[in-house]
């Protein structure tokens, strides 16, 4: 049977969040950066679910995870649309090419 203390889930979520943050800062492809963002949201979801399991009085944590899921879907849709629009202008998805606002 798989069981682990809540603390183990929190440590795992912290590690996943760090991996996602590293990807956003260090990778140069916008698509990979967006996927790293999804990793960070997943880590937050894991914390919410583990917290709800630790205090199972009401399923508020799971409801909040559901809302985060919907927000992540909306974020992915808008982010991918922005990537496509950017590709139309610059013919690349490299984040370093997005310097048009630089004075």
């Amino acid at each position: 049977m798989m069981h682990a203390p809540t603390e183990a889930y929190l440590v795992l979520a912290a590690l996943i969040f760090t991996v996602g943050a590293t990807g956003i800062v260090l990778r140069r492809t916008m698509l990979v950066q967006l996927m790293s963002l999804e990793l960070m949201l997943n880590a937050a979801n894991l914390v919410l679910i583990a917290g709800n399991r630790a205090w199972p009085g009401a399923p508020s944590g799971q409801v909040l995870t559901l809302l985060v899921l919907a927000i992540a879907a909306a974020e992915a849709a808008v982010g991918l649309a922005l990537i496509i629009a950017f590709y139309r202008i610059r013919q690349t998805t490299a984040a370093d090419a997005a310097s048009m606002l630089r004075a």
Binding site: H3, P5, S36, N45, P59, V63, T65, L67, L69
Partner: protein, 207 residues
């Protein structure tokens, strides 16, 4: 169900957790974004198994449906739409010390958290009430206590859909800097005599 004897996570949990972490690392480090998306899919499946271990059945199913079925497919669809040339050429990699800095930050964060939990443990996890994590319990809470949030998320999703369509509609004047004028306006045709910093009609096919 689980007493104080199980302070350490079980072996199966450790395997699953390391699989989740490994797929997350692969998502970030893959050179090809398509491989990254596949690793993200594996990460999502492993994470939904962790949700099952936390007796959140409904969310586990929903995680695979929404993330694996919709979001990852959307990513792969965009990669297919943009094609291989959309991926930036392999530039000089980030300096090693930056990667090492982030790895050290993550590891020290995890070690600090684990150390803190040794001294201040969370209260013992109670057994779940009957029906915990089922569709009925989550849905009941969603439509009673959190109904306003549910409606607001509906509005948010509609707004996101409309804005995604509006952003990608590619009709309108875009200011294109002089440096990229040649590449961006090259396919337009008939715009040969434009001044260097003119506004370019982007996205509309000629004729």
């Amino acid at each position: 169900m689980e007493g104080a004897s199980t302070l350490l996570p079980g072996l199966a949990w450790l395997v699953l957790a390391s699989l989740t972490l490994l797929t997350a690392v692969l998502t970030v480090t893959s050179r090809s974004p398509l491989r990254g998306a596949c690793a993200l899919l594996g990460h999502i499946v492993a994470l939904s198994l962790l949700f099952l271990a936390l007796s959140a059945e409904f969310l586990a199913v929903l995680q695979i449906l929404v993330y694996g079925g919709a979001t990852v497919v959307l990513f792969i669809f965009v990669m297919m739409l943009l094609g291989g040339e959309a991926l930036p050429p392999p530039l000089a990699p980030r300096p090693r010390w930056a990667v090492a800095l982030f790895a050290a930050a993550g590891v020290s964060l995890a070690v600090t958290m684990a150390g803190a939990f040794v001294f201040a443990a969370l209260p013992a996890r109670p057994d779940t009430p009957a029906g915990f994590g089922t569709v009925a319990s989550v849905g009941g809470s969603l439509f009673r206590e959190h109904f306003v949030a549910f409606e607001l998320v509906g509005i948010l999703l509609t707004a996101a859909m409309v804005s995604a369509i509006a952003i990608t509609r590619s009709r309108g004047w875009h200011e294109v800097p002089a440096a990229s004028q040649a590449s961006a306006a090259g396919g337009n045709g008939g715009g040969g005599g434009e001044p260097a910093n003119a506004k370019a009609w982007v996205g509309r096919q000629p004729g």
